[in-house]
């Protein structure tokens, strides 16, 4: 989703500064399917402000730098509703991890094993942190999306655990056989 709509989405849940919006995308509830950097968030908030889709009030804090807290306006909410009515763009998954596993047979088994284990550990941590958050207070869409993410991560962990040893074995045996038959096919099979 474009950064402007992402900001409107975060602000629809309550007031926030640019810094806090970044955190919501990094660690918060949006971290699993959205991303944005300061270099895109601050200009997006400035534009939303100019379009009167958000209000901004400066906040002086003791022992902390001043911050600008943004609130969504009624027209901002309308803009968010309207975006939600548009057919969603197809998901764009760009995964180096999948690319690597696809070419697993070209990799040394120790590097491959390390990558697979890191992925499992990472996702197990994600699942643990997700289980800890209090969903009771959240609206149904958030709970649903949360459960969908969990289902996805759990399925990936299960598959990786059940199949990684077999993959590693197959590659180890193919790589020793490769010494005898070092031929690549001349035309790609789709």
């Amino acid at each position: 989703m474009d950064v402007k709509t992402l900001c409107l989405g975060v602000l629809s849940r309550g007031d926030a500064s640019g810094y806090e919006i970044k955190k919501a995308c990094e660690e918060g509830p949006f971290s699993h399917f959205q991303d944005a950097s300061f270099g895109s968030i601050y200009p997006a908030l400035a534009k939303l402000s100019a379009e009167k889709l958000v209000d901004c009030h400066q906040m002086s804090q003791e022992k902390r730098p001043d911050k600008k807290v943004y609130s969504i306006t009624p027209s901002g909410r309308t803009a968010l509703f309207e975006t939600l009515l548009l057919p969603p763009a197809p998901d764009k998954v760009n995964s180096d991890f999948y690319f690597m596993t696809f070419f697993a047979q070209l990799m040394p088994t120790d590097v491959l094993r390390s990558i697979l284990e890191k992925r499992i550990t990472w996702y197990e941590g994600v699942v643990e942190r997700m289980k800890d958050c209090n969903l009771a207070i959240r609206p149904p869409g958030e709970r649903f999306t949360h459960g969908l993410g969990l289902a996805h991560y759990r399925a990936e962990i299960t598959y990786l655990k059940e199949n990684m040893d077999q993959l590693l074995d197959q590659i180890a045996s193919e790589q020793s056989a490769d010494a005898e038959i070092p031929q690549a096919p001349k035309t790609a099979a789709l």
Copy 2:
């Protein structure tokens, strides 16, 4: 993965033209986790050619335009191996669909239902097409990645089917209750 490495990956499986590389990303085995347009593929192939990582030979065809068929060179294979040894960049999932389900309670239930049903139908089609491809002839990494993709899609389909009616019901009842309590929280809960 950057388009140059993606091209090397496709060419490592056999010779191909720019047009065929595009097809591999659109319909072929890379379609689930990679994307690239002509505007990035053709310049990438030109650069790879200049760096001698691929060879190019013109092919005249009857009743078809000429095509340029690219082959990966030994140094191209080395470059691909080396990229595969680098730690993979974290996955970048940018999903409008997840964003929408997150804000499901802001959407009319009929629009939401239609989006959920389209997603299920789309993924069921993907799974059907994936089941049909002959994996016996493919290397272990490709089989593994294929199974991982299938596991993910099946988990998502299962979750959507098991939870969408409940979500729709919850939203329908909340929306009628909203008429009585029209208050938004003032500060976001992460």
